[in-house]
């Protein structure tokens, strides 16, 4: 008989779910993009820019990138928790990953809305 005392912040299930929801968003986006590109007879800058000029596609693309970044946070955190034992280095890597992902988020908005 195991008397398990459940402690912690209970973020396990939420992260598990977010990892999968973001995965489905990314998979759908990649399939749509791959489908649209394979549909084209020729390929060039005009077709490429056309693809991302509509508001729906821009929004879908930002949703995709935000999903990537959230997914990356969960994945990298899991990897670091498993392999990096010293608390200081672990904290440092976590902080660097978070900062990088926040910057990528700003960058993504700039790319898609052409600043």
């Amino acid at each position: 008989m195991v008397n398990r005392i459940v402690t912690g912040a209970h973020f396990g299930l939420r992260d598990w779910l977010i990892q999968r929801v973001t995965a489905v968003v990314m998979a759908l986006y990649l399939l749509v993009i791959a489908g649209l590109l394979l549909w084209q007879r020729s390929f060039g800058y005009d077709i490429w820019i056309d693809l991302f000029s509509g508001n729906i596609m821009r929004t879908f693309s930002l949703l995709f990138l935000l999903s990537v970044f959230y997914h990356v946070w969960i994945g990298m955190r899991d990897i670091v928790m498993d392999y990096v034992k010293p608390a200081g280095i672990r904290l440092l890597i976590h902080v660097l990953v978070i900062l990088a992902l926040l910057l990528y988020t700003i960058w993504s908005a700039q790319i898609l809305w052409g600043l």
């Binding site: 995965a23 489905v24 990356v72 994945g75 990897i79 990088a100 960058w107 993504s108 790319i111």
Partner: protein, 125 residues
């Protein structure tokens, strides 16, 4: 309670992973690789959309053999991560059963991602 002592080989050099474990560690490795490449991938995406000039210079950069190897490596990482990820979603939905299902689907993940990487490689060269 397990009374029988089992051999533990948690030494990364000595450990021999079963096929699903191999797919799993590659899922991690490919994910980490894609994360590390994110700044380059975002920069390339930025260049491709900014203007016709930056688009053209990007295509010139990508014509370099080293760039092609990078693109091919990223293609494999993405395809493996994608296929292995779909496998996990299928496992979550109880679509794959038992050890046989786990092994067969692992083979499919490795085969499909490698095959599609080869197709992209042929397209690139």
């Amino acid at each position: 309670m397990i009374s029988k002592p089992r051999p533990k080989h948690l030494d990364l050099i000595r450990i021999k992973l079963p096929l699903p474990g191999f797919v799993s560690i590659l899922h991690r490795a490919s994910g980490a690789l894609l994360f590390l490449a994110l700044p380059l991938l975002l920069a390339a995406f930025d260049q491709s959309l900014r203007s016709i000039e930056t688009y053209t210079s990007l295509t010139e950069y990508l014509a370099h053999p080293l760039a092609k190897i990078f693109v091919l490596g990223m293609t494999w990482a993405l395809l493996h991560h994608f296929c292995a990820g779909l496998r996990y979603l299928a496992l979550d939905l109880h679509l794959l059963h038992g050890l046989a299902g786990a092994r067969t689907s692992s083979k499919w993940v490795l085969a499909v991602s490698l095959l599609l990487t080869v197709v992209v490689g042929v397209k690139l060269w």
